[in-house]
Symmetry: C2
Subunit: 390 residues, 2 copies
């Protein structure tokens, strides 16, 4: 049986960056850069005043004569001469010849005469051209997922569009004669297909495009029909336990399914199928909803990141344990837990119940405590590795 | 001048929860519940097997006789009698009469004869009806912003739709004769309006609906025309420094603008206007993009949360300081900083440059270090309060 890390490496290795596309900057939040985004102009594009006040030449002496006013967006056309001052506002262009700005509150103006006591040093209250960055400077690297503040930066770099990766199209189907949709009449002995709603939301959150193929009965022809789907990754939910695995293999084998691996040494979620259906990568996730989502976090998220050309993966951090934990068996364990902040530092308390079908606990959890295979028993306060949910 | 907390309280007090609307569960990720979501059915809705195996009566003795097979979704119609066993699969309904499941790997079957060595205790490998939750149970509280795993939980509770708050409509306009859009010809002495792209992305991220009203010239009639906008909150960018403030007041005063406050003791972003334009709350944010976004995090995010009936606000956590910091003046300071993780704990290093126009640094920052007014100088390793970005 593969370890979690081995399984993840095998999955990630099956994906490469998708093609790129241009999107308008205002639509680029959450998208991933397909190339380094470089500035097309200096920022600021000209030297500007950071105060309401007066541009002067710092080397001059004595009071100055105000020769005009240049609000932001209405620059002075000439060059500031000896003894001259120009009225400026926040964001006004600093005129040629000037090298300092006097703040309005530090001067006395009488007609066109301007007096002040403290001489500004050169550069005072001026934001020089190119101070933030210069034309050609790299602003954000290939593979970065763009946050709102990155959009502001790229706008300042004069980029109206950006080159991003196409969103990976992830198609998924729940399999099982027992399944129905919420709000629909329940089947005899049946249960609601809940995993699909969680999975769809996660795919969107991670930058993919989710396509819900619906609920399939446990019939060879219904499952075999998945082979016609065009997508970047095809997922079945609930097609991975022993009987289902046989069914998926029987249904998809004649359609060109090749198995990479089945089963991972982990809990929740041991049964996990990975392979290829023709040219399309295929992932069979366990159907119990907590298993579905934990496996999606561990395996699907890095696969989507690989398609986006991003390194965003599964990063853990440290916390301390509330309560105690027994020694672990040979399967890597992911325990649902809640945080408590003590003196600003994270402590995590595992829920007493860890059943892979208990969605209410999963909804209330803040994090997963990662327990490696054969990890020793732990006492209160022990250092633990945690994986943030959300 | 108001403190940050005073200003935030005055702003939040101006907003209440918006009306609610029903949305389909699959569209509910990121929406905020307008009422407690309660289960419409037990979960699981019936007692099910968690293994491939055989349902038995634990009180019987000796080998059992297999009387049938009941795959998931095909429940056994009768009651299991003394000495009988029923073939089950993961997710199969446990028949009446049975109280335990034997795992397939623990039994030997010969025709319809089933033998095994270890007798299961009652309840073994059965997930009982209602174990996760029962019909009527509250699943998620009013004011909760729904994550993907909450959708799975609500689906399991048989909810096809959920009652959520309408998204607050936030309209914003940048003001300034010097401004143009990225990619367009630059105006003389002009600069790109970058803040609008960051602000639009943040509004969407926080659950609002962003409406970009464009760039307005510094003219009374253009600004006065904002009074006709129908929205839940109207924002100007760059309308808050001294001259702009006068312009906004002059333009909007005749349209029914009433000022609540102007100026907050903070850095970046001292000039901040809050008031009402007729019945519509009005927020004038500073135009320097870092100031715009820091003020949005501090004041707009809680306003949106208040409209969503949520308590999500601005929460800080603790870290340790890399480097040293001088004593602070009377303005609460928000320093852009990067994390370093040391033994799993967060340390934060402020950038040397903290200019409110430096977007590249803001894009690279992980967090803001919060420095209260008159905070003392700090040495390396001092405990600090930080606000995560993203």
């Amino acid at each position: 049986m593969l370890s979690v890390d081995q399984a993840r490496q095998r999955i990630v290795a099956a994906f490469g960056p998708l093609e790129s596309e241009q999107v308008a900057l205002e639509d680029a939040a959450g998208r991933t850069l397909a190339a380094d985004a470089c500035a097309r102009s200096d920022q600021p594009p000209l030297s500007v005043s950071v105060m309401d006040g007066y541009a002067v030449r710092s080397a001059d002496s004595g009071p100055r004569r105000v020769v005009g006013s240049a609000p932001a967006g209405h620059p002075f056309s000439g060059t500031l001469g000896p003894g001259e001052a120009l009225r400026l506002f926040t964001g006004s262009a600093v005129p040629e010849g000037a090298d300092a700005v006097l703040a309005q509150e530090d001067v006395h103006r009488d007609g066109d005469q301007l007096s002040f006591t403290e001489m500004p040093h050169p550069g005072k209250f001026i934001r020089p051209r190119g101070e933030d960055f210069q034309a050609g400077a790299p602003l954000a690297p290939q593979g970065k997922r763009l946050a709102p503040r990155d959009l502001a930066l790229l706008a300042a770099g004069d980029l109206a569009t950006v080159e991003v990766r196409r969103r990976p199209l992830i198609a998924f189907a729940a399999t099982g004669d027992e399944l129905s949709r919420p709000g629909e009449p329940r089947k005899p002995g049946g249960i609601v297909a809940s995993s699909v709603y969680g999975l769809g939301g996660l795919i969107t959150q991670w930058g993919g495009e989710a396509r819900d193929l619906g609920i399939l009965p446990d019939r060879l022809d219904a499952i075999a029909a998945l082979a016609k789907e065009k997508c970047d990754l095809l997922i079945t939910l609930g097609g991975a336990s022993v009987g289902d695995h046989d069914l998926v293999q029987s249904a998809l084998g004649p359609k060109g399914f090749t198995l990479d691996f089945w089963k991972v040494a982990m809990r929740p979620g041991k049964p996990l199928i990975f392979g290829r259906l023709g040219a399309t990568p295929f992932l069979g996730l366990p159907g119990n909803p907590v298993s579905t989502m934990v496996c999606a976090i561990l395996f699907l998220r890095p696969a989507i990141a690989a398609m986006l050309g991003s390194r965003t993966g599964t990063t853990t951090r440290h916390a301390r344990l509330i309560g105690t934990l027994p020694a672990n068996d040979g399967r890597q364990n992911y325990l649902r837990a809640q945080y408590e902040w003590r003196e600003g530092l994270p402590w995590a308390k595992p829920f007493a119940r860890q059943d892979s079908a208990m969605l209410k606990i999963f909804s209330q959890a803040d994090a997963l405590i990662v327990r490696p295979p054969h990890a020793p028993a732990l006492d209160e306060g022990a250092a633990i590795e945690i994986l943030d949910l959300d």
